[in-house]
Assembly symmetry: C2
């Protein structure tokens, strides 16, 4: 039973991450670093968003933040207990902080960010018991596709000679961009 339950959760995780990837692809078309996020609860989808700091003139408009803000406004509550956030790239410090403030129950991410990730890579914010919320974290879901999308974006950017605009990192050989 436990195995079946885990397999079922994993399949749902991949489905939600595929939706986050769709958001990431859409944001790449707008010239933003392709990161996407979706927020769900037991009932289903609450919000989906793509990374958009440049086009929205907002340094905080990472995909995670936009999804959290959208869901909170929709529910009329700044706390979002019982939710799971799916995001294609390991969240940065800002986003991990926001996830704690919103009381998200679980975080699922795709690619790791060795230069800016605050879930596992540089910091382990979700398990710091000095802070007043902790959460379950799973990394590596559809990681190959999530990372490939970022790699392709940065490669294209380098070809046209412009510098990447947001500090998403997917591999050691990619620039932080910020």
């Amino acid at each position: 039973m436990a195995g079946k339950h885990l397999a079922s959760v994993d399949s749902a995780d991949r489905q939600w991450m595929a939706l986050a990837l769709e958001q990431a692809r859409a944001t790449a078309a707008a010239g933003e670093v392709p990161v996407g996020a979706v927020l769900v609860d037991g009932e289903g989808l609450l919000a989906s968003a793509g990374n958009c700091p440049i086009t929205s003139f907002d340094p905080t408009a990472h995909a995670e933040i936009v999804a959290l803000r959208t869901a909170a406004r929709r529910l009329g509550n700044y706390r979002l207990p019982g939710t799971t956030l799916y995001v294609t790239l390991e969240p940065c410090l800002m986003c991990m902080g926001a996830i704690l403030h919103a009381r998200v129950e679980r975080l699922v991410y795709g690619a790791t960010d060795p230069k800016g990730g605050a879930a596992h890579s540089l910091y382990q914010i979700g398990s710091d018991h000095r802070l007043n919320h902790q959460l379950k974290i799973s990394g590596g879901i559809l990681a190959g596709e999530c990372a490939a999308l970022l790699r392709q974006f940065f490669r294209k950017r380098r070809k046209v000679g412009s510098t990447p605009a947001v500090g998403a990192m997917l591999a050691d050989d990619e620039p932080a961009g910020e």
Copy 2:
């Protein structure tokens, strides 16, 4: 000359922090944890804001974030180089992350937050050279007034039997509130 320069900077710091305190007082009247922020550049005031997550249904609506977003929208740029952010309480992880993303040059805060502060107390985010921006930080400006406002707010909350709503901490004996 150096002394005179420092004295002048200090006087300007206190004036801007007094304005941030006004924002904090206004937000307390709305039932939010009283934290205020102002963002300035060489020309003067760019944005001022009070903490408002509850009333705006937005887990990210700390005073710092609202000030950064307002200024970025006003300037039409998600980067805010050459700016100084004044805030009455030591910023949390989320806000420190946002400050780095926005490329703020200098942070000046009032009261320390021993349970959630990410500038000096729990983390020293502004001086982490693995991240792609660092900034100058001064703490303790009008700290007594900034802390007294928070203490008074939490005392009143305890009297009416409700729990504080946002995790601002001003002293070891105050609840984190989140």
